[in-house]
Structures are given as C-alpha cells and as structure tokens.
C-alpha cells in the first residue's frame, strides 16, 4: 500500500463520497449504516470507504454492542494544515511579488524574460 501518511490522507480525501462522510462526521459520530443511508451504493462499499478513512487516520472506530461507531479524529487535520500552510504561504508570497512587478509596469508591456537558469523571478501569465 501507499507508504507515507500524507499521501494516504490526501488520497482518502480525493473522493467526494469520503469527503461527504467526513463532513457529516463533524456533526456527530455515526454507524456504518447511518453513514450509508444517503448514498445508493452497497453497505460493503461504504464499509470500504470507512476503512480507507481509518487507514488514513482520519477516523477511528470503537465497539458498542454490534455497532462500530465511526468517530472523526482531529490530529490528522493538523498534519495537513501544517503542510498546506507552509506552501500556501510560499505560493502567496510569490503571487504578491508578481503583482508588484505587474503594478510597476506600463500597460501591456511584456517583461524582459529572465533566463530561467537563474533563480527565476516571476513572469508570466495574465492574471485575471
């Protein structure tokens, strides 16, 4: 199976059904049956989805009678947030730098293109 935690989390959330489950689990824990209700796929398919979420560390299951209530875990969200925040900030910074360049430029002038073997200063696309 796919090695690292981050990959598993992202992969788990790449499915809309699974994201919907996560959304509903923020409101309350739920059994597999409850989770399955809104979708018209088999119970087994839902069970598989839950398993994927579990292996990604996004949810945990306990046992209460025959039920296996599914519970959303917060920790992994922190992991993601941390990863995301780092790159979001970097990307935004570069974005802002680009804005500065554009702002200081007379209308419609194509910037002198930097040779890209240098640490590439921004250049590029018409931003909406």
């Amino acid at each position: 199976m796919a090695a690292d935690p981050l990959s598993r989390v992202f992969a788990a959330l790449a499915d809309p059904t699974r994201r919907d489950m996560v959304a509903r689990l923020t409101l309350a824990d739920a059994t597999v049956n409850e989770l399955a209700a809104p979708y018209d796929i088999s119970l087994q398919a839902v069970s598989k989805h839950v398993r994927v979420l579990e292996e990604a560390g996004l949810v945990s299951r306990s046992r209460s009678a025959q039920r296996r209530p599914v519970h959303l875990e917060a920790e992994v969200f922190d992991l993601m947030t941390k990863w995301l925040e780092r790159y979001r900030r970097a990307a935004e910074e570069r974005y802002r730098r680009l804005d500065d360049v554009l702002a200081s430029m007379p209308d419609g002038v194509t910037p002198t293109l930097p040779t890209d073997d240098s640490p590439t200063p921004p250049e590029g696309g018409a931003r909406p």
Copy 2:
C-alpha cells in the same frame, strides 16, 4: 475525467513526487527538464505529473521559446485551506468537548451524554 475541483486537487497531492515538485516550485518556476532532474523516471512521466498538477489548477504553464516554464498558482491553496479549516475546527471542537466530558467524570462512570439530538451513543475509547 474526475469531476469536482477539490477531488482533483487532493488526488494531485496524494502523490509524493508531485508534492515534491510543488515544494520545489515554491522556490522558483522551472522547466519540465529541470523538474525531472532529481527523479529517475522518464521525462514523459514527469510531463504527465505536471499535467495532473495543471488540471488540478495547482500550476500553470506559459510558453517561452521551446520551454514551457511551470509556475505555481496560489489560488487553489486557498480553496483547500478554506475546506480544511472548516473541518479542522469542527473536529477539534468535538475533540475538546469530549475532553471536557471525560474530565468532569468520576472514574468509571458511564457518561450521560451531552446527547446531541443525534442517535449516536458515542462512547470513548478504552475498549480492550
């Protein structure tokens, strides 16, 4: 191809090679060849990865001579951050609530659950 934007973004980031590319693109734009350098996979494979990132809106390409410099886009990170933040907060809140319940509980007492209207008899963890 897979419908919604969020799914595409998560799927794109579920691959460690692609995440590494994103990381490097926060430092500077890069050509496909430059991106390919560190990995020992074919150039075509790298090209495919870039395509996936592009279709997810994480990256854009302009044209400069034969080169197609790859540029990191910030916007999609905001989309993700927004999604994430919403659920992270919710998950954390529920987590804290559980802590409160546990803290205010004499040892071994079955909690009268703050039963949110939901049919969820949640029940904490210590199940052998």
